[in-house]
Symmetry: C2
Subunit: 145 residues, 2 copies
């Protein structure tokens, strides 16, 4: 009778698993800091609002590409942001396209959470030390595969 364990050794060391783990962990960490702002907002929502702050009047598809977020996922995420009044949407000459931008309230909430977000970032970057740039480059690679 042989041992039934120690199989799948090739599967136990998996980049996908590691990154998902890390994403769960770091998200919770950032959310803890965000909570201290008193605003009811999370890391995912912030990342969308920040993307919108960079270039206004993006279509859903453009935003979806930039965030590497499935378009239909984004549609639902935007609904939550809209419910909170942090974004505004309108239609252009092409009736198919829907343009989204930050609302005044959206800018205000970003301003409010900024210092707490910064705290989370500083703590996180400290962990990586001088590996930071290389780490980000490699993350970038995995974001574009």
């Amino acid at each position: 009778m042989e041992s039934k364990k120690k199989q799948y050794s090739e599967l136990t060391d998996c980049l996908c698993t590691s990154i998902r783990k890390s994403a769960r962990n770091i998200s919770q960490k950032y959310n803890e800091y965000l909570k201290q702002s008193g605003e009811d907002i999370n890391a995912n929502q912030v990342s969308i609002l920040v993307t919108l702050s960079q270039i206004e009047n993006k279509t859903i598809s453009e935003l979806s590409n930039q965030l590497r977020m499935e378009r239909t996922t984004l549609t639902r995420n935007l609904r939550v942001l809209d419910k909170s009044g942090w974004i505004k949407t309108d239609y252009g000459s092409d009736g198919r396209m829907k343009y989204t931008k930050l609302s005044k309230k959206g800018r205000q909430v970003l301003n409010k959470i900024l210092p707490h977000w910064k705290k989370a970032q500083i703590q996180t970057k400290k962990l990586l030390g001088e590996d930071l740039q290389l780490f980000k480059q490699n993350l970038e690679k995995l974001t574009n595969l």
Copy 2:
């Protein structure tokens, strides 16, 4: 009248956002490969089954710690695996604890997806090249913060 853009420059370069992006992207990639196995299984489910294959009869809380997955999230994820017949659960002498292990069907599905998973891993690791080990170390740091 000043420009209203280019604010939040500190927020645009965020590790949490980058890792979440990367997690979405790499998960989709792995899922594409898994689909070629013909089995209806995804990367998250595989990672849980693999963890179960390492040490049998884990409690929910132990598994939750090892996977860095919120316990109540895991409860729901296990329900899906159970529905597919890939795991078995039973209670020990302590009536509070619930032990989970791979079923025979669970081992079979891991065997079946193994080559496709491997393909995804190889492609991914190739991208990182010799940065792989360092990258994993840094991911590990962010998984334990």
